[in-house]
């Protein structure tokens, strides 16, 4: 406590300017990386980034002119303007110029919006915002729904339509490298389209405050070659693999005897709960806990023992009462569910 207070005091007394300088590299780093709309990997994000790079220089020019005029007005010796000249300045500079600029921007952005909103989707998926994870399900070629919670995978160059809704509170679905964000609203279905253009692994994030673990409500975004994507989706549609090792077999037993199946589904086993994410292929997913931990045996053990440590407010109760060995078996079982 003592040292904590000392630290916070020091921050309070830090000169403001220096703090900004310290934060500068962070700010610049935000322009790149797996979660930046300034590093686009999809048609929507590309469009938005293009618009941004037009608007920013234009705004800089306007800003310079306005500030320049203000400085100039302050520097010259005040002298009365003719009423006619003043009226003309207000009319052209204060009404016509802004109206024309904003109107032009609106026209451009309406056209851009039309381009961004596709209408020839090759792929449909449902996305429901939960507290605090993503209930995603793909419609496979046979028309079946394939649940793939907390991970968005899309084939490059193909338009995907995402039907968005939410449970309980409003969330916002945002994969910044691919496109804009759209709210997920309980009792309403919103629609968005994404067309990825560059294969890679990115990150998505809930963009509407939705409760305690809002910041920990993320998802990996994987843009794949279409063939690889089809294989992947076919794999996800399969029932779970049988446990391959003795440890995994014991984990599978524990999974049922501890009642994990009350909340989680593992297709092909008696576990058929719908409260939490489907775990049929959890071992093949990049993260657990909705983008919070990179999938690994250790991460699964930590998560099962105490989810609230990495994700405050998570609905899953901790299973710290299990022995280390039991947690290990469970993790082995889940890692094997590829």
């Amino acid at each position: 406590m003592q040292s904590g207070e000392g630290t916070s005091l020091r921050i309070v007394h830090h000169p403001r300017g220096r703090r900004l300088i310290v934060l500068m590299p962070l700010w610049l780093a935000g322009c790149d990386g797996p979660q930046s709309w300034l590093a686009p990997a999809g048609r929507g994000a590309d469009t938005v980034a293009g618009l941004f790079w037009v608007v920013v220089p234009a705004a800089a020019v306007i800003w310079t002119v306005v500030i320049g005029l203000a400085v100039y007005a302050g520097a010259i010796t005040p002298r009365p303007h003719s009423e006619k000249g003043a009226s003309r300045l207000i009319l052209w500079g204060g009404i016509v110029a802004p109206t024309a600029t904003i109107f032009a921007l609106m026209v451009v952005s309406l056209f851009l919006l039309r381009d961004v909103t596709g209408n020839s989707a090759d792929l449909t998926l449902n996305a429901r915002g939960e507290q605090w994870w993503w209930r995603l399900a793909y419609e496979d070629p046979q028309g079946r729904l394939v649940p793939v919670p907390n991970e968005l995978r899309l084939p490059v160059g193909h338009e995907a339509e995402i039907l968005l809704t939410a449970n309980r509170v409003i969330h916002s679905f945002w994969a910044p490298t691919l496109g804009g964000k759209i709210d997920m609203i309980p009792g309403r279905e919103n629609r968005m389209t994404l067309t990825p253009t560059t294969p890679g692994v990115y990150r998505g994030q809930c963009a509407e405050f939705c409760g305690e673990a809002h910041a920990q409500m993320a998802f990996p975004v994987v843009v794949m070659q279409p063939d690889a994507f089809d294989d992947w989706l076919a794999g996800q549609a399969q029932p779970a693999r049988a446990p391959a090792t003795e440890a995994a077999r014991r984990g599978a037993e524990l999974f049922l005897s501890e009642g994990c199946g009350a909340c989680h589904t593992v297709r092909g086993t008696p576990a058929s709960g719908e409260v939490g994410p489907d775990l049929t292929h959890v071992g093949s997913r990049l993260t657990i806990g909705a983008g919070v931990l990179e999938t690994s045996r250790e991460a699964l053990i930590d998560w099962i023992a105490a989810p609230e440590v990495v994700k405050p407010g998570a609905r899953m109760p901790g299973y710290a009462m299990l022995s280390e060995a039991e947690l290990g078996y469970l993790a082995d079982y889940l890692m094997g569910l590829e």
């Binding site: 009642g259 994990c260 008696p270 409260v275 109760p317």
Partner: protein, 382 residues
Amino acid sequence: MRLPGLHSRRGQAGWIAGAAVVVLALFVWVAPYNIAARLPHLPGVSWLLHTYMQNAVRTWSLGTEAPDWYDEDDPALVRLGAGHFETGCAPCHGAPGRPPNPVTRGMRPAPPPLDEPAADYAPRELHWIVRNGFKYTGMPAWPSADREDELWALVAFLRDYPALDAEDYAALAYGPSAPPDLNAARRITFGGLNDRLDELTDTCARCHGEDGLGREGTAPRLAGQSQAYMEETLDAYASGLRPSGIMEPVAATLSQAEIAQLAEHYAGLPAGPAAPADPDRDALITEGAALAKLGDAERPSCLSCHGEGGEVRRNPLFPRIAGQDERFLLVWLRLWRDRPFGGTPYAQVMHEAARWLTDAQTEALAAYFSTLDPESRSDPAE
């Protein structure tokens, strides 16, 4: 010597205040007022305190409402209240046909016999008194303010209290395990001489029945319950981890070995038949069955943990609830839903599981499980 400030108003006030503090300190230190319980109060003090108490009970119990499951005429609820009354209240207040323990006559105020108060106070007032107790008297507060189920059982019993004679009371509080003369032989010994387990099971049997089937809804059924679950739960009651005005005082007197013996004893008794399914409630029971088996997007399936048999071996720390008494299922589902409770290490899991149940769903689940055969081999995957 001249004292400063004696000639100004403020100075005088300061001297008076200072003197008052000194006198008060002296009074506290010397303690000349005799607080002996042996002596009566000064004239009027008893009246003042008692009147204030009655008015406080009236004022502070305003707004208290009985829960929807509370039925004053439910004999099982009355029996539960009587069972605890015998343990927790009768030693000081006496019971119908039995005077209070002579020791309590020396208390001031002495705990009164309850026929009059039970008749005078409204149910909400009785609830307030039992829940909160009184400062400056020997009346304790209930160990947990959250156990509405227990408090209202006491209230139901107290409502009947004025009309009870010794025999009625013995039948309520002890049932078939009542000794022939309750007043002469307060100690209950059945079976073996000095066999403490026998005594213990008699204490349990007052509410849970000698067959462990709960005396027709007086207390939860224990027969055939999981041994590990009962051990952990008795531990939790004994340590106060699970709050209960009824079970804590009973469990706290038990040794580890006795807890183990009791759990083994009740686990070994045959689970009785479930309540017969009332055809009029088919829809409710079906609704409960669907939720219990499958759950939904908000609520996990009950049978994933509480289901018995089948090919899945369940953790023995999960209690068996098939065939349990309906009122207890309902009350506990709501307790679990409304706040976390201690218990086995899995108690938090139950709180999370019950959190989003509606009142209607708790009713459906209670109806379903109370009519579910405890011997059933249900497979949750079906």
